[in-house]
């Protein structure tokens, strides 16, 4: 592990560490200062709801990062990543339901409200353990990871690739959505899990708890970014890209694309689970609509807009698309779906490398022009 941390420190260059430092400064220092230290009536004050909104975006960014690892680098377009996100969310939601204790509407210390409502007599076996925070936190990564491992093992082993894989991941999340809609499943059916009171002993209604969750999201995103960066800059990262570009050729070199894709898919699902677990306490609810196929496809567009195959692009894309969504659903709700739909088309047709690609392109053009003018000036002189 020491060699791992040593590698972690050396895997980046100076630009990376500068970027990370700037990111940390903005999200870990500037935002809390603007929210807490700047007086409420000041124009610079960042209201509490904005902190939670930024916290949500950070979770989306983590989800996009997970998606980018598996799609942008490994070429596996999962249309079921929303399922892993939701499962992570349900795991933490179950803990928070248990933490309500006897403060629910029915005052039943042993059963969550919806079970009392459905006349259930005892807690289903799969709810046991979720009253323990450590167990719930473990399940946040274990459940999505296990599902991804089993599903991926079956699919990759049978060499299901490309659109076929996308279609069956979509079917997976669709089936899970139908399943979680059923009251008999014991996850609150249609309404899902909500009315949470506190998390790890902190009152969810307090601004300080919200700030804490926001900060946790920022820190986790930073760590996940470093982990992803370590992976994509390793030799494994290059094999991943090789799998993406010419899978069968990789096989003839003796690597097992099945194992590689399974590793990345499972890891990515775990990251998505963590994102879900950070998201749910901030929004205060988790219900089966998180499993809807549309949500999963939207993740792909965040990544595509930012620039797939670049980690920073995924994060950028999540912020850009969700920022636009927040703004437009407020300003002109009927326009939002037109814009989102148009984004899908524009990105696939016109900017395959996303915003990052545009940036690189314009930089290159700018550079070329300045080189040309310099040359001209030199000739004139």
């Amino acid at each position: 592990m020491t060699s791992f941390s040593a590698r972690l420190l050396t895997c980046g260059n100076r630009r990376l560490w500068t970027g990370l430092a700037v990111g940390a400064l903005v999200f870990l220092v500037l935002v809390p200062v603007l929210n807490l230290a700047v007086p409420v009536d000041s124009a610079l004050h960042l209201p509490n709801y904005m902190v939670t909104l930024l916290g949500k975006y950070l979770c989306y960014a983590l989800l996009a990062l997970a998606m980018d690892l598996v799609w942008g680098y490994c070429g596996v377009l999962s249309l079921g990543h929303g399922a892993f996100f939701a499962l992570g969310g349900y795991a933490i939601g179950m803990y928070m339901m248990r933490a309500i204790g006897s403060r629910g509407v029915y005052g039943n210390a042993d059963l969550p409200d919806f079970m009392v409502f459905l006349n259930w007599q005892e807690l289903p076996w799969y709810w046991f353990g979720f009253s323990q925070p450590w167990f719930a936190l473990l399940m946040v990564v274990v459940i999505p990871g296990a599902l991804a491992f089993v599903f991926g093992w079956l699919a990759f082993r049978s060499r299901i690739t490309g659109v076929y894989l996308s279609i069956i991941t979509q079917a997976m999340t669709y089936a899970l959505m139908l399943a979680f809609f059923r009251n008999e499943m014991g996850f609150g059916g249609n309404n899902g899990l909500t009315d949470f009171k506190d998390i790890f002993g902190f009152d969810l209604a307090l601004p300080s708890t919200k700030m804490g969750l926001y900060l946790a999201s920022a820190v986790v995103l930073g760590l996940a970014f470093l982990l992803a960066r370590f992976i994509v800059t390793s030799k494994l990262g290059r094999v991943m890209m090789a799998v993406r570009d010419a899978e069968s050729r990789v096989r003839f070199l003796g690597y097992s694309p099945t194992a590689i894709k399974l590793f990345v898919f499972t890891l990515s699902a775990m990251l998505a689970g963590v994102a879900g677990a950070l998201y749910v306490p901030q929004v205060g609810i988790i219900n089966p609509s998180e499993f809807s196929p549309a949500n999963s496809i939207e993740i792909a567009i965040w990544v595509a807009v930012g620039g797939r195959g670049t980690l920073i692009g995924a994060i950028l894309g999540a912020f850009a698309v969700n920022g636009a969504k927040t703004w437009l659903t407020g300003a002109a709700p009927e326009l939002w779906l037109f814009l989102l739909g148009a984004l899908f088309i524009i990105v696939t047709l016109g900017m395959p490398k996303g915003l990052i690609g545009l940036w690189a392109q314009s930089k290159a053009r700018l550079f070329r022009r300045s080189a040309v003018t310099e040359e001209k000036e030199a000739r004139h002189a």
Binding site: L77, L154, V163, A175, L340, T348, L349
Partner: protein, 525 residues
């Protein structure tokens, strides 16, 4: 003329002496106490005179009046006629005969029994059916009498069943046995319910054994009917899935294009139906309303064909060879189409009415109905499939299409306009989706989200059946429909659907290219 015949029939049925009894019994209805009225009604009913039915009905409705001299009158929409002679009379001094609830019940039951003797076969059939549903031992003699006089076979069958039911309660074991023998051939759950107490504990062991045997034979028959119902519903669901998936089999199977906006093409087809319906309602006389569906099929095809060609030319053709990007771009298109329709027609459901020739159904045994709209959809779906197969197999366009998909450069070299064939192929797939929308508008809600409900299912059908095989799509759709419906009684609708999805996901592991996969080096990729 008709009245004369009826009068003759009445004369044949009722003897004059009978008529005198009848008049007396009717007069007796105007008694002081409710219990006396009840006795009088019993007496009247026991005469078995068909005319008494109208008297009982009127009395139960509070339309029976008595004049000061005791003549009983029936009021019918403001005019009065004599209950015995039927002659219209003026009645300024008549008072209504009061009834209470108990009496009213008895009167209605009596009227029902007497309906068995009515001269109108429709009324007799209704009476026989209600007698069968709620057997009344007091009416046993009336039922037997009616059975003896009955000439219409259908009513005769009902009556003999009713008699058998009444016999089940008879104290004579021999009667019970013969009744059981008669009822054993039934396939009505109500009959099983009648026989069940006898099978559970009849005092006579022979009767008990016979009843048990009869119950199990009815249950077998009901089980078979249940399976038949499930198979029909499965085929019906399968035909819906097939309709939704055929267009996909063209765009995905032939062109390899994953069209996530396929569901929206179905939705556009359904909205075209709605628009045509509104136009027909506004422009044509109501008699021609049923025609709108016939007009809607070509309209929906043309609309969605055009949208498909437009999409292929503006977006999809730039993405050939990049299936994942195609998937995302078409998803974007689907979002925009949904929002477009929402902006134009509103977010709520639109009403598309079944034309008269599609409402109702054929009633089969066991109270199970084949509804016409389902039957029409099954036939329609087969017609679409056959037409498409014919186009692909025999038309010049089909030949070009196959040529382009098998060897694009060669097809191009031979002068086939590959770009136009691509556009037309995509248009064809979309157009078929539009036609599917016409059919689906008949059985579900027409809303902007209509297509979303079909997209996962139709992909499953195509993937399960095998990409590029119409035969596979047919088998895929029918088997998914059947499995879904046969699972439903055991697992419930939602869980059944989940199980089917999981089963397909597992199936694809074994046969990644579906049931009817093309084999060969070209597909190895």
């Amino acid at each position: 003329m008709l009245k004369l015949v009826l009068a003759l029939v009445a004369l044949l049925v009722c003897s004059p002496a009978y008529a005198d009894d009848f008049a007396g019994a009717v007069r007796a209805l105007n008694a002081d106490s409710f219990s006396d009225k009840l006795t009088a009604a019993d007496t009247l009913a026991a005469l078995g005179d068909g005319r008494a039915a109208a008297v009982f009905e009127a009395m139960a409705d509070g339309r029976l009046y008595a004049t000061a001299d005791g003549t009983i009158l029936i009021e019918q929409s403001g005019s009065y006629r004599d209950a015995v002679s039927g002659a219209t009379v003026a009645a300024s001094d008549a008072a209504a005969i009061t009834v209470n609830n108990r009496l009213r019940g008895a009167l209605r039951a009596a009227a029902g029994q007497l309906g068995l003797l009515n001269s109108d076969p429709v009324i007799r059939q209704q009476a026989a059916e209600s007698m069968l549903a709620t057997p009344n031992p007091d009416a046993a003699d009336t039922v037997r009498k009616a059975l003896a006089a009955e000439t219409v076979p259908a009513i005769k069958a009902l009556l003999s069943q009713a008699v058998a039911r009444l016999d089940l309660a008879d104290s004579d074991p021999a009667h019970r046995l013969s009744a059981i023998a008669q009822l054993a051939a039934s396939s009505d759950p109500q009959v099983r319910g009648l026989l069940q107490p006898l099978a559970d504990g009849d005092s006579d062991p022979q009767v008990k054994a016979a009843a048990q045997k009869a119950v199990s034979s009815i249950e077998n028959r009901l089980g078979l009917i249940g399976i038949g119902v499930n198979i029909f519903q499965g085929i019906s669901l399968g035909s819906v899935l097939l309709l939704a998936a055929i267009g996909l089999a063209v765009t995905f199977g032939v062109m390899g294009v994953i069209n996530m906006a396929h569901g929206e093409m179905i939705m556009l087809g359904a909205y075209s139906t709605f628009v045509v319906q509104e136009a027909v309602r506004a422009l044509l006389p109501p008699d021609y309303f049923g025609l709108y569906l016939v007009i809607a099929v070509p309209v929906a095809f043309v609309v969605t064909f055009a949208v498909g060609v437009l999409l292929e030319r503006t977006v999809i053709r730039f993405l050939y060879g990049r299936p994942l990007e195609t998937m995302l771009a078409t998803w974007g298109i689907s979002l925009m189409l949904q929002q477009l329709v929402r902006s134009l027609f509103g977010a709520s459901n639109r009403e598309v009415a079944n034309p008269a020739w599609m409402t109702g159904g054929i009633e089969l045994i066991g109270g199970f109905t084949l509804t016409y709209n389902r039957v029409v959809i099954i036939l329609f779906c087969l017609a679409v499939l056959l037409a498409l197969a014919a186009v692909l197999r025999w038309s010049r366009f089909g030949l070009f299409m196959r040529a382009v998909t098998q060897n694009r450069p060669m097809a191009s070299a031979m002068g086939i306009p590959t770009g136009r064939i691509d556009a037309a192929t995509f248009g064809l797939g979309s157009g078929i989706a539009g036609i599917a929308g016409v059919a689906l508008s008949q059985i579900g809600n027409v809303s902007p989200n209509l297509g979303q409900g079909y997209i996962v299912d139709s992909f499953m059908v195509v993937v399960f059946g095998g990409v590029g095989s119409l035969w596979g799509t047919l088998v895929g759709a029918l088997s998914l429909g059947l499995v879904n419906k046969l699972l439903e009684p055991y697992a419930g609708a939602m869980l059944g659907k989940i199980l089917v999805l999981v089963a397909i996901i597992l199936f694809i592991q074994k046969r990644p290219r579906g049931l009817f996969a093309l084999k060969g080096r070209s597909v190895e990729g």
